[in-house]
Amino acid sequence: MRHLLSTRDLDRTTAVRILDIAEDMADVAQRAVPKLPTLRGKTVANLFFEDSTRTRLSFEAAAKRLSAEVITFSAKGSSVSKGESLKDTAQTIAAMGMDAVVLRHSASGAAATLAGSGWIDAAVVNAGDGTHEHPTQGLLDAYSIRKRLHGAASRGRDLDGVRVTIVGDIVHSRVARSNVWLLTTLGAEVSLVAPATLLPGAIDSWPVTASHDLDAAIAAKPDALMMLRVQAERMTSGFFPNEREYAREWGLSAERFARLDADTMVLHPGPMNRGLEISSAAADSARSVVLDQVTNGVSIRMAVLYLVLSGNDGTDA
C-alpha cells in the first residue's frame, strides 16, 4: 500500500487485511512493553492544517509504538497562518526527510492532491480531508464493530449481513463517507437517518438506504447505531432550526436509548455533544463502544503506518 487516501478504493481483501494487522497491533498493546521496533529509523510527519486533538494524538501514539520518529505540525501559529501553501509546507517537511505524511486538511481532495502532485515522495495518509473522507476513522469503526460482534474470533472476518445505521449530518461528514464505502465493501447493510437537508441530494446513487425517521430505525433493531457529531455552524446556516428540534427528532435521547435493542452497539466518532446528538445514558452505557473506538484507533493507525512504510506489500490501495 503506497498511500491511504480513501476507503472508496479499498477492496474487501485489503480492508480485512488492515483490520487483521490491527488485531496484531492490539495484541502488542497488551504486552509489558507495548512497543515494536518495526519502523525504527522511519520518520512520520503529522501535518495538521485543521484543528484536531484526538486524531493527531492517535497517530502520534501509533507511530511511537512502532518506534518511528514523529514530528507534528499544526497550522495554528505556524507559517500556514502566514499564507504558506500546502505545496510549500509539504515540500519543507519532505526536505527534512520524512517517510510518511499524515495529512489533515480542510479542503476535500487535499490528500489526493498531495499524493498525486509529485511535490513529495513520502507516503500520504489521509487523516481527514474536508467533507470527503476520513479513512482511518472508517477502518477503526469497522474494526470496533467486528470486535464487538466476534471478539477474539474476529480475524479474517468481514461484516457480511451486519446492519449499521448512521445518524446525523451525512452531507458534511467525512466520517459518514468513509464508513459508507468501507462497511458496504465489507458486506454490511448501511442505512442513513437524517433530515433531508443533511442527506446528499444524490443519495440514490449511494449503496445505502436512507430515511428521516430515527424511531423507525431503532425499531428495526440494527446491530450498530452510529451517531455523528452535529457541527454548530450547521444551525446558523439553516440546515435545521435549532438544537432542541434536532435533539428531539434525531438525538439518541435516554428515552430512545431505552427502546434500543439490547444487542445494538452505539458508536460515536467524538467529540460528543452530550444532550444534542447523544445522551449520557447512551454514551456511558455498556452498549457504547465510544472508548473502544479510541483504543482501536491507535491499532488501526499502527496497521496503516506499517503498511505504507514497511514497503513489502506491493499492492496499491
Binding site: P200, G201, W206
Partner: protein
C-alpha cells in the same frame, strides 16, 4: 498596405479558390490568380474560415498582468485563429468607465494581433448596486456594445431590468453570468452524485436555470436583447429554446470545454478542471452540442481565463476557477461538433465568427470570405491531429484542461484586417504585427 494572395483554399461551401487581399480588404476571388507581387500564402488543403470572434475573453490587463496582458492574450487569440476578442470587464480597475475601456481597446489596436472589443461592466465595480456609465462607454472610442458583470451575476431583478432597458438605448446587450449567488455559496463542482461522493460543495443546475428563466422573462417584458454567457446545462437549453420560440430576443453561448469535458474529471481533484460554471454531466454535454447544432445556442465563446501556476497548484477548493481556451477552442469545436457530424465548416463559421460578431455589433463579419469584406481570414489544416501540448499555448498562463489530449486541426495562417498574424502555423513576431 499589405498585398496577400491566399491560394487554393477550401471555402465554406467546399469549393476551392484563391483570395486576393489588398489594403485590408478581400478584393478578388477566383482560381489561378496571378501573384502580381503579392505575398503568397499557399493554402492548398487548408480550410478557410472568417476570422474567429470571441465574445468572452479575460485579458486580465489592467490589474492582473501576471496572468495575462492584452499583448499575450491577443497573441493567444491569433494563435487560435481569432481576429476579435471581447475583453471581459473584471479587470482592476474594473472596465466601468470610458477611460479604462479606451485604454484596453487602444492596447489591442497597438499590438495588432486581434481587435479588442472591451466589455463594459453593467454595475460600478461589478458590485451589483448601481449602473456604471454605460452611455459613456458606448460613446467612447472603444464603442462598447456588450455589457457584463461576468464572474458575478446581476442577481438583483430590478437592477437587471433597468440595465436591460438602459443598455437598449445604446443598441447594446447585457451578457448575463447566470448564477444565483445564494444557491452557489462555496460551490466547487456540479452538484450531483459525484459531488456528494467527493465531498465538494455542489453547484446545482437550478442556480443557472432559475436565473435564465427569470431573465428571459424580464427581457421579454422590457423588449430588450439579452445574451446568456456560458450555458452549461440541459435544463438551460430547454429554457432558451422555449424563450426563442416565444420570440424573446435572447442569444446564448457555450464554451468549448462544456462541449467536450464532463464532471468526471473532478474526481482527479486536479484544479485544472475547476471552472465556473462547472463541468457538467455527459447528458448536459450532449444537450449543449445538439443545441449548438440546431441554433438554440448561438455561439461558442471561450471564457479564456488565465491564472498563474500557483493559483492552480493547491487543493481543489483553494484553487482559482477558470481555464485558458483561446488556443484550443477551434480544435475542441472541430472535435465535438465537426468530427461528430453535428456541424459543417459553414456552421463553425456561423458559431465562431458571424453570429458572435453580430451579437457584439462588430462590423465587417456579415459576409464571410466575400469579395469586398474586410480581410479577416483563418486557415486551418483540418486533417491534422496531435496531442495538445504546451507548445500550443501562447498566452502567459498554462491552465488548459486539454494538455495531453489528442485534438484535431491546426491553425496555419491568420489574417487580421489584411495583415498576417500567423503564417505556417507560427505567430509572427510582435514587432512585425504591431501597428504603431
Amino acid at each position: 498596405m499589405t498585398h496577400l494572395l491566399i491560394t487554393a483554399a477550401t471555402l465554406l461551401d467546399g469549393s476551392r479558390a484563391d483570395l486576393r487581399v489588398r489594403d485590408g480588404v478581400i478584393v478578388e476571388s477566383g482560381s489561378g490568380l496571378a501573384a502580381d507581387g503579392a505575398r503568397v500564402i499557399d493554402s492548398d488543403g487548408l480550410q478557410a474560415l472568417p476570422g474567429l470572434v470571441d465574445l468572452h475573453t479575460h485579458l486580465r490587463e489592467p490589474g492582473s498582468e501576471q496572468s495575462e496582458t492584452v499583448l499575450t492574450g491577443t497573441r493567444a487569440a491569433a494563435a487560435g485563429g481569432f481576429t476579435v476578442v471581447h475583453a471581459m470587464a473584471n479587470t482592476q480597475p474594473v472596465q466601468d468607465t470610458a477611460g479604462v475601456v479606451e485604454q484596453v481597446a487602444s492596447l489591442g489596436a497597438q499590438h495588432g494581433y486581434a481587435t479588442v472589443r472591451p466589455v463594459g461592466a453593467v454595475t460600478v465595480g461589478l458590485a451589483g448596486e448601481r449602473l456604471s456609465e454605460i452611455g459613456a462607454m458606448a460613446g467612447s472610442r472603444a464603442a462598447v456594445r456588450v455589457f457584463s458583470d461576468d464572474g458575478k451575476c446581476v442577481s438583483d431583478a430590478l437592477l437587471l431590468r433597468r440595465a436591460l432597458e438602459y443598455v437598449k438605448t445604446f443598441d447594446g446587450v447585457v451578457a448575463q453570468h447566470a448564477q444565483e449567488p445564494r444557491l452557489t455559496e462555496g460551490a466547487q463542482m456540479n452538484e450531483g452524485a459525484l459531488s456528494s461522493e467527493l465531498g465538494l460543495a455542489g453547484w446545482p443546475a437550478v442556480a443557472e436555470e432559475s436565473i435564465i428563466a427569470r431573465d428571459v422573462l424580464l427581457a421579454q417584458h422590457v423588449g430588450a436583447r439579452l445574451h446568456i454567457c456560458h450555458v452549461s446545462t440541459a435544463g438551460s437549453v430547454d429554457i432558451v429554446r422555449w424563450a426563442k420560440a416565444r420570440g424573446i430576443d435572447v442569444t446564448a453561448e457555450v464554451t468549448p470545454h462544456h462541449l467536450l469535458l464532463t464532471e468526471q474529471l473532478a474526481a482527479t481533484y486536479d484544479p485544472r478542471y475547476k471552472v465556473n460554471p462547472p463541468l457538467r454531466r455527459e447528458e448536459d454535454v450532449l444537450a449543449l452540442r445538439a443545441a449548438l447544432a440546431d441554433g438554440t445556442i448561438d455561439v461558442v465563446a471561450t471564457d479564456h481565463a488565465p491564472h498563474p501556476v500557483e493559483a492552480k497548484e493547491c487543493a481543489w477548493p483553494e484553487a482559482a476557477v477558470g481555464m485558458v481556451g483561446l488556443e484550443s477552442a477551434l480544435a475542441v469545436v472541430q472535435e465535438s461538433m465537426v468530427e461528430t457530424g453535428l456541424l459543417d465548416w459553414a456552421g463553425v463559421a456561423r458559431v465562431l465568427s458571424t453570429t458572435p460578431a453580430r451579437i457584439g455589433r462588430v462590423a465587417g463579419y456579415d459576409a464571410p470570405l466575400a469579395v469586398g469584406s474586410p480581410a479577416n481570414i483563418t486557415l486551418v489544416d483540418a486533417a491534422a491531429r496531435g496531442d495538445f501540448d504546451l507548445a500550443r499555448l501562447h498566452g502567459k498562463s498554462v491552465n488548459s484542461p486539454f494538455l495531453g489530449r489528442s485534438l484535431p486541426g491546426r491553425v496555419m495562417a491568420v489574417v487580421h484586417d489584411g495583415r498576417p498574424t500567423v503564417l505556417e502555423g507560427a505567430l509572427l513576431p510582435t514587432e512585425e504585427v504591431a501597428t504603431a
